[in-house]
Each structure stands twice: as structure tokens, then as C-alpha cells.
Symmetry: C2
Subunit: 371 residues, 2 copies
């Protein structure tokens, strides 16, 4: 396939991190554009492809020209969605990799959505104390957010993402053509993260995303090929400044504090991750309004999220959510640190909100989430 | 207790690594000497102590003055020896830590031998993508080798140390008084690693260890308090130069290529790790002799190991060992890279030996291991 004439060429963004550089290649035709980097990286190596049956059936054939360079290819299929992110799946993969003769200079490709990237990245981070991997994100959420920045993890029954590592990929190749097979709900859930980043980190970009919104919602290829590199660039820059989330990187958790609690309360069923984050942002806006965020600024994000037509909140007691909030991974001994916007494009992280205020605001929110 | 007059004061060695500095405090009374660093690090934090029932019963009371500074202390007991290094044990610890309210700024102490350090370090490396830990090694092997340098791992049924991470501790505190409760066999197994390092990295130090040998074998506290910081210093310097084992650090694997295969062949029962490494060094000396190592140089190490009165080799077919050698973690796609000494104090790593030569030499070695 030739790129559609209206689609921009893939973008290249190097992401510098303490261990070196990850090359990000993003846009329509990114896979073909990255083959000059990927072929020598794969040449003569044993390659493990972590993917799902669905992703492989849809797009696996596109990898064949690259995989031909490998000395051996082992495909490791995992379940769709959060079900992939268990210690049991990780163990199955590690053992299969040892038995297949995996070595320290073997390669791993994580080819799928955010769950495949999180699991595949974690397995690469810890197999023989770390092998090199490339992220090939196929969903919008993974392309704009999850695949970038080296965070990897699996879940425990008690809490999501509670076992993991920072492990930067050799490259991230996000071909926006893969997004054509996403349904509208998955697409919206991914857009949430793009708007999230811009809202707390880049005001002008938030405006640009607002202007692109109709095209993005419709799945227009040119709009997606424009927005994905722009969102990824916001994330890459903040990760460069704060690779292990000692400070500013925490801004990316905007909406995630309550979002994670909502996901846990629903047993990770019902709401998609992006949808839970959207509800979490709407709640954070309320706390932010009491700390100086203007009504007009809050309304801009509320308006976008209203267009997304979120599924309803799970019916859950405030007490349950408050307990889950206390388990938040970002919590310090001092308490939960909230990410709260100050204005469009600027946020604060580590904001400690009195528990009584959270409890009161939460009861009201659960009663009438959309004002 | 006052330090015995003949024992030197604890040594302090900073180990610089890509993520910062680990402070090594080693010798008689190291725990007391390190309390100025440890108390502020623990103060007000939730602290997880990974240990074994035996180590806790013998030495746990000594930690009490430090632990008094913590906001909460959770003791996590694991089995003795290699049985601790399973994914099942890691999972049990991670889940207990989530349930006990562990946070990113919680602390972990690994208090025990090499297995406790490997498991505890791995759990710290991956809990919430990494929390800060301190290694408190109680065996000679852990004090001179395993606790230093940030390597952590658990085993898979297929291969030892196959799941792990590099995670440098905040500090390593090796109090040589803890060694008084070791039996002579454990002590000898630890000494193997000290002689190993000096033999391939520091000739004058090898001579110094030879001179100390009678005292070390007898468990003389002053000899141990001298040798532990000296061995740790060799290791710390090579880790600083090559933190992730891209090159020179591989010298520390001298004797480990065959050693790991012997351990695996015996189902990790029978030989202690240090004993398997000693047999592995004796085998490597044969390969090295064919590549220019002088008879006199080989004899110096053979003489030391002879004094150690190693238990016999497990009865195992050469073919089994050759298969296990192919699985070696340090193997690259190109084949197993051997560490072979060139002279006392100098070694080469990544030496590829033709498989036919390994097979022939191995048959002879198994028939008559001590020439």
C-alpha cells in the first residue's frame, strides 16, 4: 500500500533516557519507514514476538519482511486486554523463552495494545536481567501513551501494575494504519490520553487537538497520523526530563488516581482504561476548581469528554473507592498525591487533598458525575 | 559488644553506578558503623525485612535499634537456600507488601545469605517498578560477592537466575561478626568466590589471600574482617567500570560456566554454589592451560582449592553437562563465552572454545577431576 496522499510522512523523535536513546517512529507507514533500523537489530538474532491471536491475524503478515532477517522467530500469543497482564502469563513466556534457547542478545517485539506492551516489556526487562525490545503498539492508547517511556508492569490480584520495571525499548514504531481496525469506542478511549497530556502539559496542543476532534472521533487517517506523533512528543519530552517519575512525569497520571480505583472497583471489567481515566479527570477537575482552576478552563475539557459519551460509572460505594485510593501506586507514606490542573496546559502534581474533602467531593460526584 | 582489639575498623567503599552510589560498609561492627546512614533512610517509612527464620533467630535482635525508626515493620520470612528463589516466593512477598500498604517510598532490607539477597533484591527491583533496598549479607559468599553489584534474580525450573534485574542497593552492610555462626563448609564455599575474583582481576591480592588462607579456613575473625572488604573492593571496582556486564564484569563468572551446569545437573542439591564454582574453575584452568596459562600459575589456584577438600563431582554424563552449558545465561547467539585466566591476576572473557574441545576435555575431567 502507498500512503494516502493527504497523510503526513512518519515522524522520528529520539527519546533520550539514562540508558541511551529510544527511537520513536510514528505515523502512517511508520513500520516501513523503520525497517532500516529494525532489520539490523533483528539480523541473526532469536526473536520473540509477543502478540494476541487477533492482532497477529490482522497485521502479522506485515512483520514478515522484518522477521525474515532473524535466525529464529518464536511467536508468543497472549490473551486480549488486561487478562494478559498476570504473573502466570509472564511465567509462561519466560519459560517458553528459556526452552526456545533465548539468550541475552535475543530480541523481543511487543506487538499489540497497551497490555501486550506492558507484559512484553516486563518480560523483556527481566528475562536474563534484561533483553532489548521494540514496542509495536497497535491501539491508539498504546501509540500515544502506553508504549512510550519505558514503563512496564503486570497486575497482582490486589492492585494493577504493582509488579514492573522501567525498561526503555530500543524503538517504538507506531504505524497509524493499524488504527483502521479499531472500533470507535477503543479509539475514544485512546484519545482520552492524548487530551489528558495536552491539558496538563501543552495548552496550544490542547487547542490543536480540539480542532482535530471531529476527524479523530471519525477515525480519519490523516487526523490520526497528525495527532499520534504530536501526543507522543508531549510524552517523550516529559519522560526525558523525568525518566523515573521523581517529579514532573507524575503529571501524566492526571485522571489516573480515581481512574485506577474505578477500574479496580469494577474488577477491571466494564470501563476501558481510557474511560476510567476520563471519569477520573472529571473528578480531578472538581478538586482543581476549588484550588483556582477557572470555570472556563474546566469547561474546555468537560466539553471534549462529553462528546466522548462515556459509559456510566460503575455503581460503587464511596468507601470502597476511598480504600482503593489509599493503595494507589503513586501514594507516598504521606498520602495520595493528586495531579490537578491549574490552567489549560499547566498542572501540579503531588497535591495532598484532605481526606475529608476527597470523601465529600466523591459522594457528590458519584451521585451526579456530569454537572 | 566492643570490637575485638585485633580486628580492623569497618571499611567504607562507595560504589558508583549509573543510578547513583551504593555505600558499602564492611568488616567487624559494620552494622553499628552504618547506623548513621541507615536510621535516616528508615525513619518514618514502612520497612519490609526479607529474611529466613534461622537468620532472624540468630541476628534479628541486632536490627531492633534501626527498625525502631520505621513507621511500621513487616517481617517476610522465606526458606533457606535456593528454595527461596522461586517466582512463587516472589509473588507471595509482592502480595504481602501490597496488602501491608507498601508504597514507592517504602524500604526493603534483605537480611541473609545470597538467596535472600537475590530474591529480596528482585522483589525490591520490581515492586511498584522499584523501591529502595539495603543488602545485609550474613554469609561469606554474600558478603564478598552476591550482595555487591546490583544483580538480583529468581530461578525458573529450566534455568537458574533466569528472571531478574539490575537493581543497585542504597547500601550494603556486611558485618563480619555475623560470619561466626557459619560452619566451615559454608565458609569455604564463600572463600572460593574471593579467590576467584583475585585470580582473574588482582594478582597481588591473590597473594595476600594465600597468606591469609589458614586464618580464613579456621574462621579467624580478624582474617575475615580483613579479607571481606578486600574482596568486595575488587568486585566494586569492576562493577563500576562495567555495571551491566557488557564486557569486563564477565570476569566474575570465572568458574561459573561449568559451575552452573554442575548445579543444574545435581538439581541444585549436593554441591553448594561455591563448591560448584570451584570445580568449574578447575575445569577452566584446563582450557586456559591450552591457551598459554603457565603450569605454575594454574598450580597456585589448584593448591588453594585442594586445601578446600571439595565434595566429589556429581555423577553425570558429559552430554547432560554439554546441553546445560548451551543454556548458560551468558551465552550469546554465537555460543558460550568462557572466562579463562591468562596469568595470576589477569583473565579473558568471552573466549569461544570449539565444542569438540570442550567435549573432549570434559570427558577427561569427569574421569579424573584432580590431576
Amino acid at each position: 500500500m502507498e500512503p494516502e496522499p493527504e497523510q503526513p510522512h512518519p515522524e522520528r523523535l529520539p527519546l533520550r533516557h539514562p540508558g541511551g536513546v529510544s527511537e520513536l517512529v510514528l505515523g502512517a507507514g511508520a513500520l516501513a519507514a523503520a525497517s532500516d533500523e529494525l532489520v539490523p537489530w533483528l539480523a541473526g538474532r532469536r526473536v520473540f514476538v509477543v502478540t494476541t491471536p487477533r492482532v497477529w491475524a490482522l497485521h502479522g503478515a506485515e512483520l514478515q519482511p522484518l522477521l525474515a532477517a532473524a535466525s529464529a522467530v518464536e511467536r508468543l500469543e497472549v490473551p486480549e486486554g488486561e487478562a494478559a497482564k498476570t504473573l502466570g502469563e509472564a511465567e509462561r513466556l519466560w519459560r517458553a523463552m528459556v526452552r526456545a534457547g533465548g539468550k541475552r542478545d535475543s530480541r523481543l517485539l511487543a506487538f499489540g495494545g497497551g497490555s501486550v506492551g506492558d507484559l512484553g516489556g516486563f518480560v523483556a526487562a527481566t528475562f536474563l536481567r534484561g533483553i532489548s525490545c521494540v514496542q509495536l503498539p497497535t491501539t491508539l492508547l498504546a501509540q500515544v501513551d502506553a508504549s512510550i517511556g519505558g514503563k512496564t508492569a503486570v497486575d497482582l490480584p490486589e492492585a494493577k501494575n504493582s509488579v514492573g520495571a522501567f525498561h526503555h525499548p530500543h524503538a517504538v514504531v507506531a504505524d497509524t494504519r493499524w488504527l483502521a481496525t479499531l472500533d470507535a469506542r477503543q479509539r475514544r478511549a485512546g484519545l482520552v490520553e492524548a487530551f489528558k497530556m495536552a491539558y496538563v502539559l501543552d495548552g496550544p496542543q490542547f487547542g490543536a487537538f480540539e480542532a482535530l476532534l471531529p476527524g479523530l472521533l471519525a477515525g480519519d487517517p490523516a487526523a490520526l497520523a497528525t495527532a499520534v506523533p504530536e501526543a507522543a512528543a508531549i510524552k517523550a519530552r516529559v519522560v526525558e526530563r523525568d525518566p523515573t517519575e521523581q517529579g514532573e512525569r507524575a503529571l501524566l497520571n492526571f485522571g489516573h488516581t480515581l481512574g485506577h480505583a474505578l477500574e479496580a472497583a469494577g474488577g477491571y471489567q466494564g470501563l476501558l482504561h481510557g474511560e476510567a481515566v476520563a471519569w477520573g479527570m472529571l473528578f480531578a477537575l472538581r478538586l482543581a476548581r476549588r484550588r483556582g482552576l477557572s470555570a472556563a478552563s474546566a469547561q474546555r475539557l468537560e466539553q471534549v469528554l462529553r462528546v466522548f459519551a462515556l459509559p456510566p460509572l460503575p455503581s460503587v460505594e464511596p468507601e470502597t473507592l476511598l480504600t482503593l485510593l489509599g493503595r494507589d501506586k503513586k501514594a507516598r507514606e504521606a498520602g495520595v498525591g493528586w495531579v490537578l490542573p491549574v490552567a489549560v496546559g499547566t498542572g501540579r502534581w503531588g497535591v495532598v487533598v484532605p481526606p475529608t474533602e476527597v470523601a465529600a467531593e466523591l459522594s457528590e460526584f458519584l451521585r451526579a458525575p456530569l454537572r
